[in-house]
């Protein structure tokens, strides 16, 4: 028995080469769930990164270096992510991309900080494309972390701005999952509505355990009894879909302002009943007016990955900004690229985005999109999609928030 163990260990120890030199390719480790319940979400993210990398590679790469995306399956587990991080560093990776799960992002930020402190000269940079806890660009901000998604508070800023323009909304109901993110969303909603529209009454502020509720109808009944004119929710995954389905079947016809109704698989699950009822906040939707080149890009993506709808514009933003920063720094050294990224502006087909220098948070315009039947480009072959009209856009500058970040730079 013990002999087997020693053989296994020795084999393992020998099989993995001890640290490779930096090669000509710029490797980005994509550390997200690629198996298990969240495997689908992670896979969609990986495909966006790969497509973005292919486009950059076709255009002479990042400062002349070809980009390679390597997927690492973290099973959405923080501890497993740290093992995968070490594996990635061993393979010469200096850039990490991750987005699913604030717990994982928290672990990675902390681990990368410590790694960079303990191993000078081997710095690693973290490109966060979807973990939205505001704390990452405030109290726990780090020089090595750049966020290409708007954080939860900024999205709430967009949601409350939208409410602000709707005088008919007098009562708002907030429902969320009972953990840090749900609580943060609720707190932000209460605070911002209080500032912008003191006349609005918060008629309900409800938390339910994460992923445990099967039938949301009782909650919907509570909302109906409270005569709410709008519902705000940070729910994602099954909790979001089931909430919307219960609302549909009870005929609760008020706007549902969500964070994640645009997410993968949600459209098919919500079905036609959710049309006109559900809104989501995001940096783009695929039915916005854009130059033809962007349409081609989206077509190219959806033709290649037939099962996935174009969703993460921010991944393309991140890749292009990385390219620009490397060109500006004339290096792909993470420290230099990070310095160049600070304060960088980039023209996307949807407007200018800016990477804030003080807390490494992107500023981008946000859209409130409504679930609709009448769409040019649908999602996931449902015939349904997302559209925005007048007054649904929130300018990038308006999403800027004060930050408590005190960044220490190398």
């Amino acid at each position: 028995m013990k002999r087997i163990m020693s053989a296994a260990l020795a084999a393992m120890v020998l099989a993995v080469p001890a640290g490779q030199a930096m090669s000509e390719t710029l490797k980005i480790a994509f550390i997200d769930p690629l198996s298990g319940p969240f495997g689908g979400t992670g896979d969609a993210g990986l495909r966006h990164w790969e497509h973005a990398a292919n486009l950059v590679n076709a255009d002479d790469g990042v400062n002349g270096n070809q980009v390679e995306i390597i997927g690492f399956d973290n099973k959405i587990n923080p501890k497993e992510s740290l093992i995968q991080l070490q594996k990635a560093i061993d393979q010469g990776v200096r850039y990490i991309a991750q987005g699913n799960g604030s717990s994982v992002a928290s672990a990675l930020i902390d681990a990368i900080d410590k790694h960079n402190k303990r191993n000078p000269g081997e710095e690693v940079l973290f490109l966060n494309y979807a973990a939205v806890d505001p704390v990452f660009t405030n109290d726990r901000c780090s020089f090595w972390h750049f966020r290409f998604d708007s954080d939860a508070d900024m999205k709430m800023e967009a949601v409350t701005d939208w409410i602000n323009n709707k005088p008919e909304i007098k009562k708002v109901y907030i429902i969320g999952q009972d953990y840090s993110f749900g609580k943060a969303v609720a707190a932000a909603a209460v605070k911002m509505i209080g500032e912008k529209r003191p006349d609005i009454e918060i008629v309900g502020n409800e938390l339910h355990p994460l992923g445990k509720v099967k039938d949301f109808t009782p909650y919907i009944q509570k909302m109906i009894s409270s005569e709410a004119d709008a519902v705000i929710t940070g729910n994602w995954g099954a909790d979001m879909v089931l909430l919307v389905k219960a609302a549909t079947s009870s005929g609760h016809d008020v706007p549902y302002l969500t964070y994640y109704a645009g997410g993968l698989g949600a459209a098919a699950a919500m079905g036609e009943g959710a049309v006109g009822r559900v809104l989501t906040v995001s940096e783009v939707n695929t039915n916005l007016d854009t130059p033809g080149a962007q349409d081609e890009l989206i077509d190219g993506f959806e033709d290649k990955y037939t099962e996935i709808s174009y969703y993460y514009q921010r991944v393309f933003n991140a890749m292009n900004m990385l390219d620009m920063a490397a060109t500006k720094a004339d290096s792909i050294d993470p420290t230099k690229v990070a310095m160049a990224l600070e304060g960088m502006e980039y023209e996307t087909p949807y407007g200018t985005v800016t990477m804030r220098a003080d807390n490494h948070q992107i500023l981008q315009s946000l859209y409130m999109s409504t679930f609709s039947k009448d769409v040019k480009r649908d999602v996931e072959k449902t015939g349904l999609g997302w559209v925005s009209g007048e007054g649904d856009k929130i300018e990038a500058a308006d999403t800027a928030m004060e930050t408590s970040c005190k960044m220490s730079r190398p």
Binding site: L207, P209, V213, D215, P218, S249, G251, G271, E272
Partner: protein
């Protein structure tokens, strides 16, 4: 009044859905002693089969054939899987179903994809039945109620009024005696396991479009089914029925209570703004079944209506 009426209606529907899901497990568990961890996976298979059926035929055919197919699959699992493991004891059987749940999850993902499938309520049933205090009451919920009650009636008739039912009932409580009387107990086991899976699949056909049909729906539904079976008591369908309704009602009523610990225990000096004090009863609602499970097992290990210890 309004709240009570709504909670009552919703609680009963949710309870009935739970009962459909857990009645099969009660049969299997009481008779074979197997806590079938894959039971919720058969529920998921039911939903997916129904989805595939509705793609080519209609919902009504799916309602009949999806449970039959899943039932046959369940019987096959018993015949060529569980029966082999039986010699190694109950823990091995339980672990077999535990592994089977993993396997079904993954295979479903390969066949039907990783995302939610578009399995929707049939158009014939997609209308509001009546309106009550401003909220519409969907017809499909009434349909769930009808199917569940019909299933209960058929099950009750089969078990109490037919010869097969007598044998099964006897095997529920005295499996060895039934064997001594010359009945083919392994075949009864196989039939009951298949039937139990078919019942779960029926719940899947009904619940898959009412809730969502996606690869993690089994993991999502799994634990609460055990609660029903254990709380209801071994060998007792009535117990499972009562436990389902109890859990359904308890959960929906708890949701309508917005009071927090701080409000209730304010007299003891608990501040409503403290972390413990700010927890509301409604936010705890989905955890109540598990609290009930632990308490019941400690106080009354027979369950509510059971005649034997679990």
């Amino acid at each position: 009044m309004e709240t009570i009426l709504f909670s009552l209606l919703n609680g009963v529907i949710y309870g009935l859905l739970l009962f459909m899901l857990s009645s099969g497990l009660t049969l299997i568990f009481s008779m074979m002693g197997i806590l079938n961890f894959a039971h919720a996976s058969f529920y998921m298979l039911g939903a997916y089969f129904a989805y595939s059926f509705t793609q080519v035929t209609s919902f009504w055919l799916a309602l009949i054939f999806a449970p039959i197919l899943v039932g046959l699959f369940g019987a096959a699992v018993e015949r060529w899987g569980l029966r082999k493991v039986h010699a190694n004891g109950h823990v091995a059987e339980l672990l077999f179903t535990f592994g089977l749940a993993y396997l079904i999850d993954e295979v479903v993902k390969i066949i039907w994809g990783k995302n939610t499938v578009d399995y929707q309520i049939p158009h014939a049933l997609d209308f509001p039945l009546f309106e009550l205090f401003g909220a519409q009451y969907p017809a499909y919920r009434m349909f769930i109620l009808v199917v569940a009650v019909a299933m209960l009636a058929v099950l009750w008739y089969l078990l109490k009024r037919t010869r097969i039912g007598l044998i099964i009932q006897a095997s529920l409580t005295h499996p060895h005696m039934v064997g001594h009387l010359g009945h083919n107990v392994p075949r009864i086991f196989m039939a009951v396991f298949g039937a139990g899976c078919a019942l779960a699949a029926l719940a899947g056909v009904i619940g898959g479009n009412y809730l969502t049909t996606e690869p993690s729906m089994a993991t999502f539904m799994g634990p609460v089914v055990f609660v029903v079976v254990v709380v209801g008591g071994l060998g007792s369908l009535e117990g499972a029925f009562i436990a389902s309704l109890l859990i359904g009602l308890m959960q929906t009523f708890a949701i309508s209570i917005s009071a927090s610990f701080g409000d209730i225990f304010g007299w003891a000096g608990l501040s409503p703004t403290s972390e413990l004090g700010s927890i509301t009863i409604s936010s705890l609602a989905p955890m109540l079944p598990f609290l009930m499970l632990v308490l019941i097992l400690m106080i009354r290990p027979n369950g509510l209506m059971g005649t034997r210890e679990v």
